[in-house]
Subunit: 216 residues, 2 copies
């Protein structure tokens, strides 16, 4: 007996706290989350939390960064290295990625960024540079490759690759707000959208000349 009241585990603490904070923020949002709750969830005293993170805001930023960083890098690299045609890539890896986003923990990022972004300009700037810019860039390259390879006609998608992930955002927002009362089949929703876009820009096999752009 006489089990020690705590263990010293300097290495693991930051991640433990960060995880707990993500869960708490996801449930209640940033402002409504109490630092004490985060500490309790992490099985740690409030004092310790403040040893690793100077303020609640720093903790918030650390949480966001911890969730996002891995994903986008992977997507970007995959797009640049793939052997698949543009359409194959969109229907394969990209669709997988898009479908899984509204389910993943990253989903709550959307809530947090929309709700708290405006109050944390430097975080927003970081988010832009490390997530949005890279992501859009990768998608744009993919579309462009499709156009140059004669798969797609030129379209506004080259300028607005955002459109590709629009339904993902909507899915995430939807489930945050209306679930579980009103469900949305996000998988089919996202796939349906991709289908429609592809139908609009695809050049049928064999027809390789440029067709006119969409009318005004």
């Amino acid at each position: 007996m006489a089990r020690p009241r705590f263990r010293r585990r300097k290495e693991d603490r930051p991640e433990e706290i960060t995880r707990a904070a993500l869960a708490a923020f996801a449930e209640k949002g940033y402002a409504a989350t109490r630092v004490t709750d985060v500490a309790k969830r992490a099985g740690v005293s409030k004092g310790l939390l403040y040893l690793y993170f100077r303020t609640k805001e720093e903790l918030f930023k650390a949480v966001i960064k911890s969730v996002v960083s891995p994903r986008i890098d992977a997507l970007q690299k995959a797009i640049e290295e793939t052997e698949l045609s543009a359409e194959e890539y969109l229907r394969g890896p990209f669709l997988d990625f898009a479908r899984q986003l509204p389910r993943s923990p990253a989903r709550v990022l959307i809530r947090l960024m929309i709700a708290e972004g405006p109050r944390h300009p430097d975080l927003t700037a970081w988010y832009w540079e490390n997530v949005v810019a890279h992501g859009l860039d990768a998608l744009r390259k993919l579309i462009r490759r499709g156009v140059e390879g004669g798969e797609f006609r030129p379209s506004a998608l080259e300028e607005f690759p955002h459109l590709l992930i629009a339904p993902v955002l909507v899915s995430a927002a939807w489930s945050i707000v209306f679930e579980p009362h009103h469900k949305l089949d996000t998988d089919r929703f996202i796939e349906a959208h991709l289908d429609l876009l592809l139908q609009a820009i695809r050049i049928p096999h064999g027809e390789n000349r440029q067709t006119g752009e969409p009318g005004t």
Copy 2:
């Protein structure tokens, strides 16, 4: 001189307070807005505010309802009474509506609903019934009419009219989070999306038989 310190204007107070609150919530979000600030903005004492709204939360709900109600009714009625073809309606009144949303005060609703919705289930339920359900319903009818009239092929848009407004939500979220640092031409963004969707579902003039559904 001896101008009275205040006027008694029982009739106007609720709206004045509601307006002030919308502005405040839009700037800072719900949690970060102080009731005192709202009162100050409305040119009123905090006590008076609590005479018209029992709690901060009630005030919040009143704000949401005051912004939303008129719009959706108008859209819905317009769709049901229009003489335009489905495509004409989408490119005309609907596009106008969609373009103007991300600019209007209603834009901040998106932030507020995503951020605070989960903490106000009854408000969310009201919002669903009075805004989302009606809106989706109207759009679905419009699409269906287009299909039945031989303008559009059958497509997932009938099941997911949400796709039509997805770029509107994205535009709003975008400008809330990234403006003014990174601008998005929301007008062209939204129109581009509509163009693509129409291109996907439109049946060219003269070709009135049903064409096959989008392949899997």
